[in-house]
Assembly symmetry: C2
Homo-oligomer: 154 residues x 2
Amino acid sequence: MTAADTLRSRGLRLTRPRRIILDVVRSTDTHPTAASVYRRVRRKLPRVSLATVHRNLRQLATQGLLVERSAADGMRFDGNTGVHDHFTCVACGRIYDVPARPRSAVRRRMASSTAFEVFDYRMEFYGRCGACRRRRTRSPLTRHQRRTYGRQEP
Amino acid sequence: MTAADTLRSRGLRLTRPRRIILDVVRSTDTHPTAASVYRRVRRKLPRVSLATVHRNLRQLATQGLLVERSAADGMRFDGNTGVHDHFTCVACGRIYDVPARPRSAVRRRMASSTAFEVFDYRMEFYGRCGACRRRRTRSPLTRHQRRTYGRQEP
DNA sequence: TGGTTATTGGTAATCATTATCAATTAGACT
DNA sequence: AGTCTAATTGATAATGATTACCAATAACCA
Ligand SMILES: [Mn+2]
Ligand SMILES: [Mn+2]
Ligand SMILES: [Zn+2]
Ligand SMILES: [Zn+2]
């Protein structure tokens, strides 16, 4: 089932902006912000509106064609919809995919020891990535710099 | 070492607004937003400014007297600074503390299989809490309602 | 090739957080 | 207890991110 079919089967249309936005998110593993997606989409479609990017990221996530993840510095989007975990480098801000560990054991233990019905869980690792370990540590970003720029997208 | 001593040893002062803000966050396990803390602080200090609440939550988190956590609906604050995990009920939005599982094994495995140096990790569980399992499911909140109100604080 | 209607671009509105600044006051030291 | 000094406050403006609105456009179906 292609993305176009998924959309059309729900009465949605695969417009040019929507297709390019989906392509941009799917063709990277950097977990871009909406602003970053906007910058990249404009290279192919200079007249696109920032509102269109926001609208489509939200819509495409609702339709399951990409994943919306909240990170410490705001919302990010992930074209990898498979089950996987993430590692955030606290030095450079990059977010890496890491393979998920088997989930069933954790869910069983959680469900049997509490009144909670666990549908899913998420693991986030924090530390320093290989590149940053080899390099002298730079001064950390300010709160505002983290939110606005985030070193993972040059 | 009391909170007042921690602050004074770093040239900071324990003012009345700051003490009340810290008390409010420490005396609940609902992981309140800044807006929610503001509402509760105003009951004791009606003339407090929202900016003062934001400033102090940030400062107190920087000093390690409370923890700042990003959730799907925005930033939240946790008076429990010990190691623990969280369960988010997708039906009512409440965030519950859950005991942490032993950390060393996970960190060792992660560090040995990748180039990442893991300082810490975070687990978030998602599902339905006991109260919501017993009760008929209500209609889900809108995006805006989730961000602003969040059912966990009535 | 039309006709319907989802979608777009442009822009205003909203929301959360941060910045600014004159007035206040906690804490240290007489 | 009174004085001093700098941290802090309340009020408000500014900022950044996201959402709402609406007339114009264009995707898709018959
Ligand atoms: Mn990912
Ligand atoms: Mn907690
Ligand atoms: Zn790094
Ligand atoms: Zn619940």
